[in-house]
């Protein structure tokens, strides 16, 4: 059947610069470029191009420009290119249109409408290069009151996880991302003193040396979960939902279930790895509580147990229930959260922005007087340290970053993760592509990312006259809104700028 889908990208090759070295040919995992020996020229099959820019980056003479294909349908505010393309793709296959990465629709990004405070005159700003500046963050339930008798703390706190910066790497499963990508994130987390999340794809034995900096996930598929999986990690996270695809499960196709993936997930080679939409032992909040305590029992009450939900309309009430059900950490994943594969229609339309969810949850937990009982971690769409520090000011204890980590190791957000052919070796199942990530380089780049963001956060904290991040956490007075409606300011709990 003839496909009616037009190419998305246009390969512009400067023939003067092209030296026929073949690097574009060997780097494109979609076989877009090919050498024609008869004419001694490199050509492109543009319909295959995903706009990942791998070839452009690697072309030694910068001969390539990959740009949006200039084809035009008749202009129509309703029927835009994307609508027609998706519809044609659907008509080609009769299936669900898949995509990767986070929501790319122009939903309001509240971070861009929030601005930060800085000290002037009445309060000295602090220079983090010369004075102490603490980003140390502890995840875990805190008591409402500390009992000190004769100078000694009575009893002990529930388990606490120390982070040297309030930034962690999101759940990305082995199989969804390559071994090298996962290894790099775990190593970087270990080196910088933060955590990386295994996602629900199990945890390879050789990566368990990074246990002190690893969060293991217990999701609806329960892949790779056993006693050692739980106990060798720093923290356990129950995944109820994911920002990119609230309400639905996951599906790793059988062809990606290679022997190492199968071994890690504890399933037969070549079988589809299906994560059901709900956890089939959790149909209610009391069921969740039972799983939380089952996991605490299994880990001897030594590990914090987190519960991750998609940010949905009643997130505040659900979060309250989760805290009361015994979770040590509540994780909220907003509508801009990334994914390796999700139905495009769900990614783009289900859930709420993380900023609003966070503000509502933090406020609700405070109103109920239970905010100390659990840490709040947020995920979904963080792009820079400004977003992170605003989240902290809104009330988050820490954030998860996924896409920024991947971008740091090459990702260009081409959204084709689900093909398994990631030319950057990040979400690739093919071992030929996985090798494109040198874990030494990737680890360094990730550490650089954490260091850079952390330093920026320190600079901004210093500017506010704050030298410990807990003094900004939930301190919404240091935020002001710009260009927001009253109801938005109210949900966010901030004043408009100038007020």
């Amino acid at each position: 059947m003839k496909s009616y889908v037009l190419p998305e990208f246009w390969v512009d090759r400067d023939d003067y610069r092209c030296i026929r070295c073949g690097v574009c040919v060997n780097q494109c995992s979609y076989d877009t470029h090919y050498y024609d020996p008869e004419d001694d020229v490199v050509r492109a099959r543009e319909e295959r191009c995903t706009g990942c820019q791998r070839c452009a980056v690697f072309c030694p003479t910068n001969a390539l420009t990959i740009r949006t294909h200039p084809y035009e349908y008749r202009p129509n505010a309703n029927w835009r290119k994307e609508n027609i393309r998706d519809l044609n793709r659907q008509a080609d296959t009769g299936g669900v249109v898949l995509t990767g990465m986070g929501n790319d629709k122009p939903l309001r990004i509240y971070w861009d409408h929030l601005v930060l405070n800085a000290s002037q005159v009445t309060n000295p700003s602090i220079d983090p290069l010369r004075e102490p500046m603490e980003l140390d963050t502890f995840l875990g339930a805190k008591p409402d009151q500390v009992d000190v008798t004769c100078g000694r703390v009575q009893g002990s706190l529930p388990p606490q996880i120390h982070l040297s910066t309030p930034i962690m790497f999101s759940a990305m499963s082995y199989g969804a991302v390559s071994y090298q990508a996962q290894l790099s994130m775990m190593r970087a987390a270990g080196e910088y003193g933060t955590l990386a999340n295994t996602g629900e794809g199990g945890w390879r034995r050789e990566l368990r040396v990074y246990g002190a900096s690893t969060i293991v996930q217990v999701a609806s598929g329960r892949f790779g979960v056993d006693r050692s999986y739980l106990n060798e990690a720093a923290m356990v996270e129950i995944k109820i939902g994911q920002g990119a695809k609230p309400g639905i499960g996951g599906h790793l196709p059988g062809e990606k279930v290679t022997p190492p993936v199968a071994e890690t997930r504890m399933i037969p080679v070549g079988t589809d790895a299906l994560s059901p939409a709900p956890q089939h032992d959790i149909y209610s909040i009391e069921d969740l509580s039972m799983l939380i305590y089952a996991l605490k029992e299994a880990t001897h009450y030594e590990k914090p147990v987190a519960v991750k939900i998609s940010a949905v309309h009643n997130a505040a009430a659900i979060a309250s229930g989760i805290v009361r059900a015994g979770a040590d950490v509540v994780v909220l994943d907003g509508i801009r959260g990334g994914t390796g594969a999700a139905p495009k229609i769900i990614r783009d339309n289900v859930g709420i922005p993380i900023e609003l969810a966070l503000a509502a949850v933090d406020q609700r937990l405070r109103e109920e007087g239970i905010r100390s009982r659990a840490s709040v971690v947020v995920a979904g769409g963080f792009r820079n340290s400004g977003d992170v520090i605003k989240a902290i000011a809104l009330g988050a204890d820490a954030v998860y970053i996924g896409t920024p980590a991947l971008v740091a190791i090459g990702c260009t957000v081409c959204q084709k993760c689900y093909t398994g052919k990631c030319p950057w070796g990040i979400t690739a199942a093919d071992p030929r592509l996985g090798k494109r990530i040198n874990p030494d380089i990737a680890t360094q780049r990730l550490v650089n990312l954490l260091r850079g963001w952390s330093f920026e956060i320190k600079e901004m904290l210093g500017g506010m006259g704050i030298n410990a991040i807990e003094s900004l956490r939930g301190n919404r007075l240091h935020l002001r809104g710009v260009g927001l409606a009253e109801w938005e300011l109210e949900v966010l709990g901030v004043k408009g700028a100038g007020r």
Binding site: Q27, K435, P439
Partner: protein, 154 residues
């Protein structure tokens, strides 16, 4: 002495090492001119081998006991004080005895000039062009004693 070693677990067969090696050994040292103008066309001094997920770049080991130097019938191949094995092109007669002798297959025929062509570790450069331009650190310039980590997979 320092040599160039390949880390096959991170080599992605992009062949940029070959491209930059060729340019380094061109007259113009310019990518476009080296590939498109210069005649005879300059030669790369290393090769990338690839099969499936396995790939690596390879060039002269500059052996402590270089078979090529010992085999050379004209004395065109020499091992200098610095350990670098070089071809003196004016002495080479293109008999390919060195190609026969080198167990590393690291000497190529420069057919245009009829002389042997091989890695010279980029004289004058602190780091050879292939190593410097490898985008994934799949080539390292190291002493033999520093090799322990070369086989790391984690």
């Amino acid at each position: 002495m320092k040599r160039v070693y390949a880390r096959e677990e991170v080599c992605m067969a992009c062949t940029l090492c070959e491209v930059h090696c060729l340019v380094q050994h061109s007259r113009s040292r310019d990518l476009v001119k080296a590939f498109k103008r210069e005649r005879p066309r300059p030669l790369k001094r290393l090769r990338v081998e690839e099969r499936g997920p396995l790939s690596f770049a390879f060039q002269c080991r500059h052996c402590p006991e270089p078979d090529c130097v010992y085999a050379c019938v004209t004395g065109a191949l020499t091992k200098g004080e610095d350990g670098v094995v070089l071809v003196q092109e004016d002495k080479c007669i293109g008999c390919w005895t060195c190609i026969m002798a080198c167990p590393y297959g690291s000497i190529e025929r420069d057919l245009a000039q009829g002389v042997a062509s091989k890695c010279d570790l980029c004289p004058g450069e602190e780091i050879p062009a292939c190593v410097k331009n490898c985008p994934n650190d799949a080539l390292v310039f190291a002493e033999e004693g520093e090799l322990a980590w070369l086989s790391t997979t984690t």
